[in-house]
């Protein structure tokens, strides 16, 4: 067990699964490498997540594709229908927009519309979210969008440990899984076992516990929420449950409902814009199934209803932060 970055944790997961299952392969832009003057030149992914794979497994299983996202997803799904276990990498979640049909109308629907005849065990990995000043077209989350599509499972890890265990589960899962890697967290570190382990889908983590307020958060917002909870406890003695569902779909409803049954107060946090997103989804769940426990309005902390701006000050003002979460917690306690 050593301290590892999320990038390295994900890379380990890929290596474990490539070694374990010969049906696993990876396809995407710049994920592998090429031969030059008879020597392998390794790329290993623009964010370095697939490093070492090309060298170990070669271009049959580590496939550099043309810049053709629709063909990448088609190639993955068609291979999955034929019994393989493809992992497709889309560089930025925003770019699922150029292959959206192949994901939401094809992969998500095959099993159902063909009456259960087939499985389509594709994993689509991509970077998600803001914080790198990448601008409006390279900073979106997209995981709330995919959560709305039946047939897809959706994963957003918030730390390196979860990232490794969830990616292994995703690769072993028999359904399509959209796997979102918050790009600002690649370098964030924590203890990560060297061996393979899997974290079940649909089981939330609770990195902080407390009886006053429930905070439910996704992706990098989990870390902001932990900071907020720690500060609230130290500065004001306010104790919060911080719940990280880890898999928006399937969602661990029980953990959320039980927590709210105890606290009676809910703050939901996500960096996506507010409309039809996960914060609304969780609020709706609770306003239905835990209504009688609620003591205060449900507050959401989200980005505003605008695209993601590029400049440092603008993106900083755009994204949620611990200060805004603290304010929301104080508001539901008022």
């Amino acid at each position: 067990m050593t301290i590892k970055s999320m990038r390295d944790a994900l890379n380990e997961a890929l290596h474990h699964e490539f070694a374990r299952d010969p049906r696993v392969f990876l396809i995407g832009e710049d994920v592998g490498g090429f031969e030059k003057d008879g020597q392998p030149v390794e790329i290993g992914g623009v964010f370095g997540v697939s490093k070492g794979l090309y060298r170990s497994y070669g271009r049959k299983r580590v496939i550099d594709s043309p810049i053709s996202e629709a063909a990448i997803i088609g190639a993955a799904s068609g291979a999955a229908l034929c019994g393989l276990r493809p992992i497709a990498e889309i560089m930025f979640a925003d770019l699922t927009a150029v292959c959206f049909d192949q994901i939401v109308n094809q992969i998500a629907k095959f099993r159902y519309m063909f009456g259960g005849q087939c499985a389509c065990p594709v994993v689509i990995r991509m970077t998600t979210g803001g914080g790198r000043n990448a601008g409006a077209q390279h900073s979106q989350t997209f995981y709330p969008i995919f959560t709305s599509f039946p047939g897809l499972k959706v994963v957003v890890p918030s730390n390196a440990y979860d990232a490794k265990g969830l990616l292994i589960t995703a690769i072993r899962d028999q359904d399509p899984v959209l796997f979102f890697e918050p790009k600002v967290l690649y370098t964030e570190k924590c203890e990560v076992p060297d061996e393979a382990y899997s974290i079940p889908f649909g089981e939330a983590a609770m990195p902080r516990e407390g009886e006053d307020v429930t905070i439910v958060a996704f992706g990098q917002a989990v870390n902001w929420s932990i900071q907020a909870a720690d500060e609230l406890r130290q500065a004001h003695g306010i104790r919060c449950d911080v719940i990280d569902p880890r898999t928006p779909s399937p969602l661990d409803e029980e953990t959320i409902l039980e927590s709210v049954a105890a606290t009676g107060r809910l703050v939901v946090v996500d960096e996506s814009p507010p409309r039809c997103g996960l914060t609304a989804d969780i609020a709706a769940l609770v306003a239905d199934k835990a209504f009688r426990y609620l003591k205060a309005p449900i507050k959401a902390v989200t980005a505003p209803h605008t695209p993601v701006p590029q400049a440092r000050e603008l993106e900083r003002a755009y994204l949620p932060n611990p200060r805004r979460i603290i304010a929301a917690v104080e508001e539901v306690l008022r």
């Binding site: 299983r61 068609g78 034929c82 519309m113 063909f114 047939g151």
Partner: protein, 321 residues
Amino acid sequence: MTRDQLLCAYRRLRLLREFEERTRIEFQTGQIAGFTHLYAGMEAIAVGVCEHLTDEDKIISTHRGHGHCLAKGCDPVAMMKELWGSSEGLCGGKGGTMHIADFSRGMLGANAVVGAGAPIAVGAALAASITGASWVAVSFVGDGGTNIGSVYEAMNMAVVLRLPKIFVIEDNGWGEMTPIGNAAGNRDLAARAAAMGMPAVSVDGTDFFAVHTAAGVAISRARRGEGPSTIVASAPRFYGHHEGDPQLYRSREEVAELRRKDDCLPRFIERVTATGDVTMEDLGIIDADIARLMDSAVEQSKAAPRPTADDVLQHVYIRYR
């Protein structure tokens, strides 16, 4: 081709035709729901290609998919039941006319999104390339569908990865109600595919033998590991774009003329009987067989069990949570 092969091909051609003729009648009596697109007129394309394929080989079809399914060996009764929306249909009624699939036959699905099958079939070919399996993958796309960008992505990727993939372009001259001449900047669809870096030929899609020969070349090439090919086959669409289309954009005479001049079935019959290998009597027996099969398919479909509300929740995930 041997006499048996010829009879087999004829049986399929006739099956495809009669299936559509019956579907049309039953649609008109209100038994079949959904947007239904008939393949009548284009049978020699599907049969000419699929006669080369085994159950191991994979195909992906279009919104106009009945013919491809039948040519690939799907059970016509189970297909008819699917059109009827029965729980005994090939997809249990979940799919319907535009989404018939039979994975046991390598039929990976009709697909209602124009052009979408091409990239998916690339994946089926990739699976063969990765595992060393000997199957090929075929996608069917219409002339109109060649204006969907991802078809070119699929072509390029198949070339780059040298995959056992055949692109069959079915050129019936129409994309819904719009003539291809108004939709394609270059009417030579084979040239477009060739520019992506693969062999591409144009054939008369009403001539079973022309299609069969071209498909044979492309499929052997693919099986030898030499990469993808494209076949553009032109053939008429005898009915409207979908059932219910009043076809205000072409006259009855025009359609009658197509039937008279460009029908793949008489052309096939003429050719095979001319050599004497096969007699009109042989064919008559097959015709009668198929007619009985269709009667029975319709009858069974009418009597087949209907799905229930509980079925709605089945088959979305293999395991959720």
